[in-house]
């Protein structure tokens, strides 16, 4: 039991339970399993994106271009669908993954081969990818009536009681969990964040691993692009504008340290769920949606303050100890 309490995820889960409890006092139907399933489905895209961002942040990098990647890939897929409705949806998803992979690989290449800090690279590609969306679309929108019914309904189809979108999220979570805990690359990603120098001596190719995490976050961005467009059935240049910071916020609330090396799949998922619950709850308990931004901002600050207490490694600040002695 004591060990159990040490995990940040336990506290986050408790926080979410308290949050749901509080909301239920104002709106009794909220904790209903059917409603919670709905909340999970609504948060699926954010959860997937947060996982992609997590692997990047773990290696002491950051990917600010995810939302722009989502926007670009979503537009490409939507235009493909509008022009060739016969392309089956699974193939479109593969195309989305590949387009996202290319965009992520560009980020990764610049970080790996040219050693440019990731925040600079992705700050640049953030504007480039969104601008490229405008170029490929000519500024036009792709509307619901231009998309094929399959394109829109694929993720809404119910399978064993859950929509396909939820299943995709569960599959991605399971894949990330296995990759992070059971594979060499997962260990390498953690190791690089904890101590890049020691990782080199341990035989890990730091640059190549960073390239791989950017490829992963790119593929995730591409996948989320299709899911986002088919969910909100509009593809435009404005899609997910500024969403990159929501993704990072979900990671931060989930206890992933921006300094790298600390974080888990469970944390990222719960962090995203936390934000998802807030955005779902505000309308039903009659709080103006304009409050959402300030509430998630406060949640981020609170989460950082709480996380920092657990993260403070011993022996780092020698001076303070000397003062105390």
């Amino acid at each position: 039991m004591k060990n159990f309490l040490k995990y940040r995820e336990t506290w986050l889960l408790a926080g979410i339970a308290v949050l749901i409890g509080l909301i239920s006092t104002r709106f009794p139907g909220f904790a209903d399993p059917a409603n919670l399933r709905q909340v999970f489905n609504d948060t699926s895209i954010l959860m997937i994106l947060a996982l992609g961002q997590m692997v990047v942040i773990l290696t002491r990098s950051i990917d600010l271009s995810m939302a722009s990647n989502l926007c670009f890939t979503g537009m490409v897929v939507a235009m493909l669908n509008a022009a060739h409705p016969a392309i089956p949806i699974p193939l479109l998803i593969v195309i989305a993954l590949l387009v996202g992979l290319v965009l992520g690989a560009i980020n990764g290449f610049l970080v790996w081969r040219l050693n440019i800090p990731s925040i600079v690279v992705t700050l640049g590609t953030l504007t480039i990818y969104r601008g490229a969306t405008f170029v490929v679309s000519g500024g036009a929108w792709v509307n619901a009536d231009q998309m094929s019914p399959d394109f829109i309904n694929f993720q809404r189809a119910a399978f064993l009681g859950l929509p396909v979108l939820s299943w995709i999220a569960l599959l991605v979570i399971a894949l990330f969990f296995l990759a992070m805990t059971r594979t060499q690359i997962g260990r390498s990603i953690h190791a690089i964040g904890v101590n890049p120098t020691a990782s080199v001596y341990a035989g890990i190719d730091v640059g190549r691993t960073k390239f791989i995490v950017f490829c992963i976050s790119g593929m995730i961005g591409g996948l989320a692009g299709y899911l986002w467009i088919s969910r909100y059935v509009i593809a435009s240049v404005e899609v997910a504008n500024g969403y990159e910071l929501n993704i990072i916020a979900a990671c931060v609330i989930g206890g992933i340290s921006i300094a790298g090396g600390i974080g888990s799949v469970g944390g990222a998922v719960l962090g995203a769920l936390f934000l998802g619950i807030i955005s779902n709850a505000l309308p039903v308990i009659n709080i103006s949606p304009f409050w959402q931004m300030a509430i998630s901002g406060s949640a981020i600050i609170l989460a950082v303050v709480l996380n920092a207490r657990g993260e403070r490694r011993q022996g780092r600040i020698i001076l303070r100890k000397a003062e105390a002695a």
């Binding site: 040219l114 800090p117 480039i128 601008g131 240049v237 920092a308 403070r312």
Partner: protein, 333 residues
């Protein structure tokens, strides 16, 4: 060690050969600026008109003011993503004051004080609680703009007094706007503070090695706190200018300015890892971004397509010296 009868002479600054000035980052930026300027003048007959050039400066003065303070902050190894949200909150507060009949001096004071207070809040969280600034300011970014949204919702504040319009629309002399004058004066002040005072040296030192600074008796926390306050202050001033120029306040005002200000700083040759850079570079980068945006605007290139050029410019300018160095050393990829 050999015994030295006299303490060794340590020069204030190292002698630099002329070649280092020619191949400096600033020289690269000047070349780029001249190129863009030349291309623009050929591409559009309207470009070289003094009033066009004057309009051009409005593209970067407000963000440039923020970028000056941001440069110092980034050199010290921190970052502030909440600057645009501070602009929005300060503007909202000024808008509220207008509704109760505040005059121009009061409005300016409110804008500046709100900016300063927001900066101090960031600074306290980062220095007192030892939190990473990138995360703190992502949080306060949502918080500050969120408060603006709570107050305003989908409404807008209007009815700013006529005398208030001077800051964003007035001209000091001929085509020189108040905004441009303020930007240049601020650039001079920041240049002096960073490159001419012991405070500036400490900022560089902190960026290079905060722990060593702490041991050397530099008050790292206090200096970082001051830098956050300065960034808030400049955001407050920028808020006064933008509000005055637009004559209205919406909660979405200045959306995305934080990334543009940071782009200016990085393009200006300030190391995002801290410890290196110059104010001259930032000023040049501000001009370059203004030139690109305005030149492409004259050619009817839509704003969103312009952002591709800004993004490419950022990556290419950063990558160019690295690729060049590797090519010379013959060990590329």
């Amino acid at each position: 060690m050999t015994d030295a009868p006299h303490p060794r002479h340590i020069p204030d600054r190292l002698d630099k050969p002329l070649s280092s000035a020619v191949f400096s980052w600033e020289a690269l930026l000047v070349i780029i600026a001249v190129l863009i300027f030349a291309v623009n003048s050929f591409a559009s007959p309207y470009f070289l008109d003094p009033w066009s050039l004057s309009d051009l400066t409005f593209n970067f003065t407000e963000k440039g003011l923020i970028a000056l303070a941001m440069a110092l902050l980034i050199i010290s190894g921190e970052i502030d993503l909440s600057v645009a949200a501070i602009v929005a909150l300060a503007s909202t507060m000024m808008g509220m004051a207008v509704q109760v009949g505040a005059g121009t001096p009061v409005l300016v004071a409110i804008g500046i004080v709100v900016g300063l207070a927001c900066g101090a809040f960031n600074g306290l969280l980062v220095t007192r609680l030892g939190l990473p600034s990138i995360v703190v300011t992502i949080g306060t970014m949502s918080l500050f703009r969120g408060i603006a949204f709570i107050i305003l919702g989908d409404q807008a504040y209007k009815g700013y007094p006529e005398s208030f319009a001077f800051f964003g629309q007035g001209y000091v002399w001929w085509v020189f706007s108040f905004e441009l004058a303020l930007f240049l004066v601020a650039a001079l002040i920041y240049w002096f503070v960073l490159h001419g005072t012991s405070f500036g040296r400490r900022v560089f030192a902190i960026g290079n090695n905060p722990v060593a600074c702490q041991f050397s008796g530099v008050r790292v926390g206090r200096i970082k706190f001051i830098l956050f306050c300065l960034t808030g202050l400049m955001s407050g001033i920028a808020s006064v200018l933008i509000t005055s120029r637009l004559g209205s306040t919406r909660p979405s005002i200045a959306q995305g300015y934080e990334l543009e200000a940071i782009t200016m700083v990085v393009l200006g040759g300030i190391s995002i890892l801290g410890g290196a850079g110059s104010i001259l570079g930032v000023v040049l980068a501000a001009f370059i971004m203004g030139l690109v945006t305005f030149g492409l605007g004259l050619l009817n290139v839509p704003g969103i397509e312009m952002s591709i050029f800004i993004g490419l410019l950022l990556i290419i300018v950063i990558a160019l010296p690295i690729v060049w160095r590797r090519l010379r050393e013959g060990r590329f990829a």
